[in-house]
């Protein structure tokens, strides 16, 4: 038997069109063709251009990065801010790769 969480696939994973609507946010109630097209174009513009990737990044690996980004992003920003303040007073670079010439 599949684990229970297998039965709770988010909408955007089961249908390609719905996925685009969902990722653009708050547009799932739009119904007219023009609005849909506008949202689609906007989604295409917002979407990053994939790099020349010869590796399969793996869907699960890509999606978990989005989750981890939320978890660690804010903490990292605070850490960097703190390091900058410290560097200001001590005059030392934040780490070995934070030379001013970079």
């Amino acid at each position: 038997m599949l684990p229970s969480w297998r039965n709770h696939q988010p909408v955007f994973e089961t249908n390609g069109n719905n996925m685009k609507l969902k990722t653009c946010g708050k547009s799932s109630r739009l119904s007219s063709g023009a609005s849909l097209a506008a949202v689609f174009v906007l989604a295409m513009l917002l979407m990053p251009t994939p790099a020349l990737a010869y590796l399969d990044p793996g869907t699960g690996s890509f999606l978990i990065q989005g989750v981890i980004a939320v978890v660690v992003g804010a903490g990292f920003a605070i850490k960097m801010f703190w390091h900058r303040i410290k560097a200001l007073f001590t005059g030392k670079p934040m780490d070995e790769d934070d030379d001013p010439d970079e």
Binding site: W5, R6, Q9, F12, E13, T14, G16, M19, K20, T23, A43, L46, M47, P48, T49, P50, A51, L52, A53, Y54, L55, P57, G58, T59, G60, S61, F62, L63, I64, Q65, G66, V67, I68, A69, V70, V71, V72, G73, G75, F76, A77, K79, M80, E96, D97, E102
Partner: protein, 461 residues
């Protein structure tokens, strides 16, 4: 060395369409294909190439003539600085793999600063060159687009984080999983083998356990995950989190502190020095550039070769001894030494597609000289290898051989025979010399002072 393909390209260089390695008249070149032209230009113009080379993180290259091109896709031909010996992650001790991981993350951080990103994070792209880990694949970079997740994140976790966590928290011998899984340790396997306490580490929880669950959850869905947005700052946060997770992983054999572990030897300082001098005198007669010290322990005698300016592979089965050697190398002073974990009774085989992606140990030879000290009894008695077969192996491994014969009267051999029947009637000095005489010419033979052991210098016939 691996047999080149019909067009001269290296048999292991086929995954990335950006280019490939090939040999021409014994020199290694890297072709850059048209599809990678823009990224190659960016690597140079952004200053990333100079920055990484200056920091010793990327192999330097020069540009060679396009006349060497294989096919009409070529836009550049690069000639990378040669690496003395290509080693593989399943041959590295814990800290070598850890240093390679941190090097990869550092390169990715610097790449992001210059508007590029690593498109792969393969442990096989890192090599130890002049005592330091560096990236050997100059075509690993691509332009970074804001919002894009790291395409090599999965590979980094499989090639580095998972094996390091398993080695540190489950069993050091699990580095062997890198030998059976050519694209790194599958994360569900790692998650299952790691102890429960690994979940208490936020880094391991996110990058291995949750990552494995996410992979399993989405393995059969049609979604590509390409809609996932990760801002540059958040991506730097992920890299910082990976760095933290790797840095926190440590391995201490049997809970001991480094330094205590190998101080206790059976030899007095003076007899060790005498043996060192004997080995050195023999090495001086070989005119060697490459030396393989097999059964090198912590590299004590390997230094005799590396101090003479010879590139020295110091291979041992004991991950603790190799770890200690690598830590000494890292401190500096041993740039020509490469410590590796290697079980000579089952040395690294040829692996991967068509058996040609990763070379066997012997495929990477022969060495000018092989040193085998205090080893013969382990191979002949513990592993039942007939002396004639030992001679045949060493004849394939090197042109010269400095080998120590340890007789049955030696306390170490007595210990090996204490718990088993002695089925080795020809294991004596005369039998040893006879077994090697067919393949080797003895140039020198001398008793080691203060022991019943004999040291030989031989040359392959």
């Amino acid at each position: 060395m691996t047999t080149p393909m019909s067009d001269g390209s290296h048999a292991a260089s086929f995954r990335d369409p950006s280019g490939f390695l090939f040999h021409d008249k014994g020199t290694l070149y890297r072709q850059v294909n048209r599809s990678y032209e823009a990224d190659y230009k960016l690597l140079q113009e952004s200053g990333l190439y100079d920055l990484l080379v200056e920091k010793g993180l990327l192999i330097p290259h020069s540009e060679a003539s396009l006349d060497l091109a294989r096919g009409d896709e070529a836009v550049r031909i690069l000639q990378p600085e040669p690496v003395a010996f290509i080693s593989y992650p399943y041959e590295w001790c814990f800290s070598q793999l850890k240093d390679a991981a941190l090097t990869t993350l550092r390169i990715q951080r610097l790449a992001l600063k210059k508007g590029m990103t690593l498109k792969d994070a393969s442990a096989y792209n890192i090599q130890f060159h002049e005592g330091r880990p560096l990236l050997i694949d100059s075509l690993s970079f691509t332009a970074y687009t804001e919002g894009e997740p790291w395409v090599a994140y999965r590979q980094f976790c499989q090639h580095f984080l998972a094996p390091l966590a398993l080695m540190a928290q489950t069993d050091i011998r699990l580095s062997a999983l890198l030998r059976t899984n050519i694209d790194g340790v599958p994360l569900d396997l790692a998650a299952g083998l790691l102890p429960w306490r690994s979940r208490l580490s936020p880094g391991l929880m996110m990058h291995i356990h949750l990552h494995a669950r996410s992979q399993k959850k989405h393995q059969s869905t049609q979604a590509t995950g390409k809609k996932t947005q990760v801002g540059k700052n958040a991506l730097r946060g992920i890299l910082d989190s990976l760095k933290g997770a790797v840095t926190k992983l440590n391995w201490r054999p049997g809970g001991t502190e480094w330094g205590e572990y190998y101080d206790d030897t059976n030899y007095s300082d003076s007899s060790l020095q005498t043996k060192k001098d004997l080995v050195g005198n023999m090495l001086d007669r070989t005119d060697s550039r490459t030396v393989w010290d097999v059964g090198a322990n912590n590299g004590f005698f390997s230094q005799v070769a590396s101090d003479r300016g010879m590139f020295t592979l110091a291979a041992d089965i004991d991950p603790t001894a190799v770890e200690q050697n690598w830590r000494a190398c890292r401190k500096g002073g041993r740039p020509l030494m490469l410590p590796l974990v290697m079980d000579l009774t089952n040395p690294s085989p040829a692996l991967g597609w068509d058996h040609q992606e990763r070379d066997s140990l012997l495929d990477r030879g022969p060495a000018d000289t092989v040193i085998a000290l205090a080893l013969v009894h382990h191979l002949a008695i513990s592993n039942n290898v007939p002396l004639g077969r030992l001679a045949a192996f060493f004849a394939r491994a090197g042109k010269h051989l400095i080998i120590e014969f340890v007789p049955k009267s030696d306390s170490q051999v007595k210990r090996l025979l204490a718990t088993r029947e002695d089925v080795f009637p020809t294991y004596d000095l005369a039998g040893f010399e006879q077994a090697f005489a067919g393949l080797f010419e003895t140039l020198d033979k001398t008793g080691i002072e203060g022991s019943e052991r004999t040291l030989f210098l031989m040359r392959r016939k």
